[in-house]
Symmetry: C2
Subunit: 587 residues, 2 copies
């Protein structure tokens, strides 16, 4: 197949047009578009398209499509479930150039054009990546990614003027601090002229920030932005700011309200090259959460939607879990009157990486679907879960329809299955503290993280409506009204927004308590069905692939059984209400 | 004062007689008795006795009065709350000879004549203390203790023939293993001829043991005993054997039954120089537990009563807690028909040490009372809590009656205060997993350690009577009958032995739930009273001593408040029953 590359200055950056024929023409305005066009062509052909008849124009919805690695320089990965870091080991850089090239190509193939490599929780020497001692190596890494149009981002410590620069303060209003950031940006860009920017987790979970110095988040972000502006760099400023030392006795403070409360009043106060990076849900990547109200509310500030590709609360690449279903659902959710999240057109989309140095990248090879899904939705947030997952399965397992169909179907079901056996109806957080795998109903109930279910003998959940903490008021009235009313609130979010008695009737006629029992018994059976289904594929799969996934399904079943039994026992002890169907609930 | 030392061969080992006069005469059969007599004389004089009129004959009730250190060779102390190890640091021996001499003298002053220095949970190099590379230094340490008649004990790995000796097995029936232990004993005694013996935690919490090889505990212990016998050494064999991988769904297995089940059938099967070392309670050093049934049941085997001097579950030397009250209560408890625990005359008494390299030995200086109490009760188990604590306070703070009286009174109350605000009525275990400080009602409820309260909306506790797990059958019928009946069961143990509805009426007329609320509110007020009382002593105490204890009281108050609120909220949520007195219980 011959390919002819054309320049078409009318196309936006990164976009491409593929025109089929004996010679396929790929038109773009830039080199990135040409690369994306070529990779898209290869993908289409693998998926069975006829090169002769192709006619595709593809424009990315978001300008910045970014992965954040939470890699520590000791080689560990925070919330990583796929081995160690691709970049660091024992306090220093350590990468395999061949592996990095494969990785860069993989990222380009799904349209990702930016990555931060170091953890937003800055520790020890990771603060010093912006110094002369570290920049030459970082520049080498940037060079390795450059052919694939993937640009580096550095996570920086807001207090770097003190912790790295040795200044007496990191106050954004201090001339020395302003100058220090300006010099630092110049130094960094001298080594990496196409650096995408700095990523900052400020005033969050013990990371430094402007609030401690009496400054606003905008004051803090804008000083970094001013330093980066001459170099075309961007500040990605995370909005994950909340009181992580809350008292469980305090029922007024409500953690999901925090990001909006901190950032909405500052809408419009941020510099042009600041992007506010907002988690997709208002709490923290739980199995079911509403879309963060801040994502719809900001209209005068650039926004990034942050997804968590790595499965922190969603099975840790042991349990099967495809993000495609909840992410597409979120993107199709109304966040402004008449406008879905996808339609608000955030110019940046960020995913927290799920890859590590495991040979198969993601520990569970089926988890690679999530990286693919992230890239595809960053480029085109209107795609459907089924088409994304089917394409991924086909690209990964080839054209055996039995295999791809079966795997696609399992992936499509995986979120609902996981949701069935874990915390019910959007309440979240009934996990083991710290590592977040497995059940512990009261694990976070009396801790300082602001994550409470307040289950009592008569009712369960936190009332976040206007009768309660009034989180709903952070949404436009039309949308708030949907969440306010138990008749219209999506069932998956019922216990996120409402405190309900166990006798509450769901749409299907079951009481709340019966629903808890039913879903927990069903979830385990669903996992058993996954296992049986997977076993039918054994003759059609590579033995090692089959075995790796089968082993994980075995652990998923143990996990689901433990969730089922602890949740059912907990609520049975609490309510004394028996299962209508008389199934085994332990005393 | 002139002292005249006499030899009196009719006195038993370690015993002494003090006869007052212008010259005081101390008679004993051995050097240890002379030392104990001299130290006792000094103590009596400090306590205000008139040397002229003294006439004391003192014979220790137990032959072996031992402290077990749980010190690791990295310098940490398992369950230590007073700094690092006195003996180890960074994987090697490291001690201050002056400190060791002070310590040895302190031990002799309370009659302790044996110490093991390394943790019963053997890790890494601590297994190799029995090798030529470590024995020379260990012998130096033994020499440092020798002038004070304190003999060393070594905690050894049951699997040492494998892990240290390189043999293919540690099976007690293997000739190579038998020979290896014999050679090892000879080697150790060549360096330390007066070693008291070996201490073994076998088949317990992942330590190796004979059971895994299909042998009995007696098979295992007797091989070591045969090796030590020619040298006069003793095997101290811990009975802390239970299923630490229990499934919470399993209501048949009951952890407090385990020690009896494992060891009672072997009564009489152990060699003469084996001592079975049995924790005072059948679970694990909780605030209120019954006396272990095994302590009364064994009649053909030597027994050691094991106390935990260090405050693992009892406030970690932050909260004020004098063991004197519960220990004296336990020693006065009937364990055989007509016979108290003290009257059964165990020939060995063991305490798990509470000292570390903190300047004041125990972190909280008031915790030193517990080491004193341990020594005094090991020597004479019929002493009363008040006389022990008053003597300690007088020896420590001098003859200011306001100070000693106040401190004695606080110490006497401390156990009951701690019991009030922690887990109610002997149920135990509502602590933070792992470190065991602070409240977590369900912290152990779904774990594998066999420690469950099974609190439900209608009732609380595990029925351990003949209607339940039948732990009571491990006691003689007369004693079992006391525990079986809620009318006669000591109130402190009510929820240890019984599962009761919240409406159950206690002796004072309060319901069970009201008692929980009342004691938890009272416990906090009691701590506030401690603080106020302590403040009255400020003018009479050294400023640093005052401040160190005051700081700990501050933390105790925080701890008590957290216990009160979490316990009250947990049970209020669970039962829906309000506090009759309308005090604040958080939702």
């Amino acid at each position: 197949m011959n390919i002819n590359y054309n320049t078409d200055g009318t196309l936006p950056p990164d976009a491409f047009r593929i025109t089929g024929g004996e010679t396929v023409t790929i038109a773009s305005a830039d080199g990135a578009g040409a690369l994306y066009g070529k990779l898209a062509l290869e993908e289409k052909i693998k998926l069975g398209a006829d090169a002769k008849t192709l006619d595709i124009t593809s424009v990315p919805a978001a300008k910045n499509r970014i992965l954040n690695h939470w890699d520590n320089m000791d080689g560990t990965v925070e919330r990583g479930y796929a081995g160690g870091s691709l970049f660091f080991k024992n306090g220093d850089f350590a990468w395999d150039p061949k592996r990095i090239e494969e990785y860069a190509k993989m990222l380009a193939a799904v349209g990702i054009n930016g990555i931060s490599i170091n953890n937003v929780n800055l520790r020890d020497d990771s603060r010093r990546l912006i110094t002369e001692e570290r920049l030459p190596q970082l520049a080498e890494l940037a060079a390795a990614f450059r052919p694939y149009h993937v640009r580096l981002i550095i996570a920086v410590d807001f207090a770097a003027p003190k912790t790295v620069g040795g200044l007496p303060t990191a106050d954004s209003f201090d001339d020395g601090v302003i100058a220090w950031w300006r010099e630092t940006a110049a130094r960094v860009y001298a080594h990496i002229p196409d650096l995408m920017g700095f990523l900052v987790k400020a005033d969050s979970e013990f990371q430094a920030g402007p609030a401690a110095l009496g400054r606003t988040q905008a004051d803090g972000a804008n000083v970094l932005a001013a330093a980066l502006a001459p170099h075309g760099g961007t500040v990605f400023w995370r909005c994950f700011v909340y009181d992580c030392l809350q008292d469980w006795r305090d029922t007024k403070t409500d953690r999901p309200k925090a990001a909006y409360e901190h950032f909405f009043p500052l809408d419009g106060a941020f510099a042009e090259n600041v992007v506010l990076q907002i988690k997709i849900g208002p709490v923290d990547f739980q199995v079911n959460e509403p879309v963060s109200p801040l994502l719809g509310a900001l209209t005068k500030t650039r926004r990034a939607i942050e997804f968590q590709v790595t499965q922190e609360y969603t099975g840790q690449q042991i349990d099967l879990y495809a993000h495609a279903v909840p992410w597409t659902r979120a993107l199709k959710t109304l966040v402004r009157p008449g406008q879905t999240l996808a339609q608000t057109r955030a110019d940046t989309v960020v995913g927290v990486s799920n890859v590590g140095n495991d040979a198969n990248w993601t520990g569970n090879p089926l988890a690679l679907a999530n990286l693919y899904t992230f890239g595809k939705l960053a480029w085109d947030p209107t795609l459907g879960a089924e088409e994304i997952l089917r394409d991924w399965a086909t690209l990964t397992f080839g054209n055996d329809a039995a295999v791809t169909g079966t795997i696609t179907e399992m992936l499509l079901q995986s979120h609902d299955v996981f949701a069935k056996y874990t915390a019910p109806l959007g309440i979240g957080w009934m996990v083991q503290p710290g590592h977040h795998y497995g059940v512990n109903v009261d694990g976070y109930e009396y801790m300082k993280w602001g994550t409470y279910h307040r289950a009592a003998h008569d009712a369960l959940g936190v009332d976040r409506t206007s009768r309660g903490t009034n989180l709903t008021a952070q949404y436009p009235p039309e949308i708030a009204a949907v969440y306010e009313n138990t008749d219209t609130c999506p069932q998956d979010l019922l216990l996120f927004f409402h405190r309900l008695p166990y006798s509450f009737r769901l749409k299907n006629g079951a009481t709340l308590i019966q629903h808890i029992y039913d879903t927990h018994f069903e979830g385990v059976e669903d996992v058993r069905r996954f296992i049986a289904t997977w076993e039918t594929l054994e003759p059609r799969l590579q033995p090692q692939l089959f075995a790796v996934v089968a082993e994980r399904f075995g652990r998923q079943l143990e996990n689901a059984v433990e969730w089922r039994d602890q949740i059912n026992t907990y609520f049975h002890r609490l309510t004394g209400i028996p299962d209508e169907k008389g199934r085994k609930i332990y005393d």
